[in-house]
């Protein structure tokens, strides 16, 4: 059963209270112990592996050495035969036979080592996969438990649990309202700034005698006077 299935069935289990341990504390401890043991076994297996690999290398070197030794004695045996030293050649042949037997033994040992290495590597791969799987399961279990306990703390700090989360719709309304309010306020502030900004400037301009309003009185008077003068001139002409 995968860890996800285990968590799901734990969560679905009989009306459980949030905060109650989602994962059996005892099971968690067993898991942690298993991980610890698997890691120790892994370390041992890796140490064994290096030892066996060293032995394999040593066997290989020995096979090579014996091979050269055999070739050397074969040369000697041939030389003895050339000199018709039958008895000496026989002695050398005996030595060669011994060396060959020794080489065969080393070759068998090397094959055994190779097989041992392969099975150790298999073991290590399996142990590593097991550790990874246990660690992952533990992480999922611990995370689940942790978020449930955190939620319990959060609920308690909010008051009477879930009810204090408030109605979702009301929350949304309040956030929206506040958002609109802020937006309205910002708009009002902009308008205000624009209005007061312009008026203040116009006042300053007028005070300095600049702009349309500055000489309005004089302009009106001049216009009226000009109109009166024009009216008089017209009536003078008629008379």
């Amino acid at each position: 059963m995968s860890i996800f299935s285990k968590i799901l069935s734990a969560l679905k289990g009989s009306a459980r209270e949030i905060g109650e341990s989602v994962v059996d504390a005892n099971a968690t401890r067993i898991y942690e112990q298993e991980i610890h043991e698997s890691k120790a076994a892994l370390a041992r297996a890796k140490q064994d592996l290096t030892l066996v690999m060293a032995q394999e290398k040593a066997a290989e070197r020995e096979i090579e050495r014996l091979g050269k030794e055999i070739l050397r004695f074969e040369d000697h045996a041939l030389a003895a035969l050339d000199k018709a030293e039958e008895s000496l050649a026989g002695d050398v042949a005996t030595r060669i036979a011994e060396l060959e037997a020794e080489r065969d033994a080393q070759q068998r040992a090397r094959a055994d080592f190779a097989q041992h290495i392969a099975s150790l590597k298999d073991l290590i791969r399996q142990a590593e996969a097991r550790v990874r799987e246990h660690e992952r399961e533990l992480a999922v279990a611990k995370t689940t438990e942790s978020v449930y306990r955190a939620t319990e703390s959060i609920s308690q700090s909010m008051g009477s649990g879930a009810s204090k989360l408030g109605s979702a719709r009301e929350s949304l309304e309040r956030i929206k309202e506040r958002h609109t309010l802020t937006a309205d306020r910002m708009k009002a502030a902009e308008e205000l700034d624009a209005e007061f900004g312009t008026k203040a400037l116009e006042k300053k301009l007028a005070a300095a005698g600049i702009g349309g309003d500055a000489n309005r009185k004089e302009a009106v008077l001049a216009r009226l006077k000009a109109q009166r003068d024009a009216d008089r001139a017209a009536s003078d002409e008629q008379q």
């Binding site: 949030i18 700090s157 949304l172």
Partner: protein
């Protein structure tokens, strides 16, 4: 470690102040270390930050089972599932009877990562609440 996390959250808050508004961080009493982040203007949607095993979880509770209109419950769940992958940096979830949206970060995440996640999460929470309102009472 807890103090370091609180410091990172506060630093993330300073970086976000311009975009999100004032940021208040407080530790919640309880056996598990949980920090509550309240964002000015979004007080209804506080974000809770807790370290769970190998990750930092930033959680924002959205609504409870009681808020869900029973006749639209399946449609709500489907909508959440459909939307889940499109939501930037956050995912929907549920703890007990509480529906939530959350972001997960590696334990060594810095203030910048936190700031990015919190900004996305807060925006996502408001959007999610608005989008899902039609399935709620």
């Amino acid at each position: 470690m807890d103090a370091a996390l609180q410091q990172r959250i506060a630093e993330a808050g300073r970086r976000l102040a311009g975009q999100l508004g004032a940021f208040e961080v407080a530790r919640i009493p309880g056996e598990v270390v949980v920090f509550k982040v309240e964002i000015s203007g979004r007080e209804e949607l506080p974000i809770f930050i807790t370290q769970a095993d190998s990750q930092i979880l930033c959680i924002c509770y959205l609504w409870t089972e009681r808020d869900v209109a029973p006749s639209r419950r399946t449609a709500l769940l489907e909508a959440m599932l459909d939307l889940n992958i499109a939501i930037p940096l956050s995912s929907f979830g549920r703890i007990g009877d509480k529906y939530l949206i959350y972001g997960a970060l590696a334990c060594e995440a810095g203030a910048d990562d936190l700031a990015q996640d919190l900004l996305a999460l807060s925006d996502n929470a408001v959007d999610a609440l608005e989008a899902m309102a039609e399935y709620l009472h």
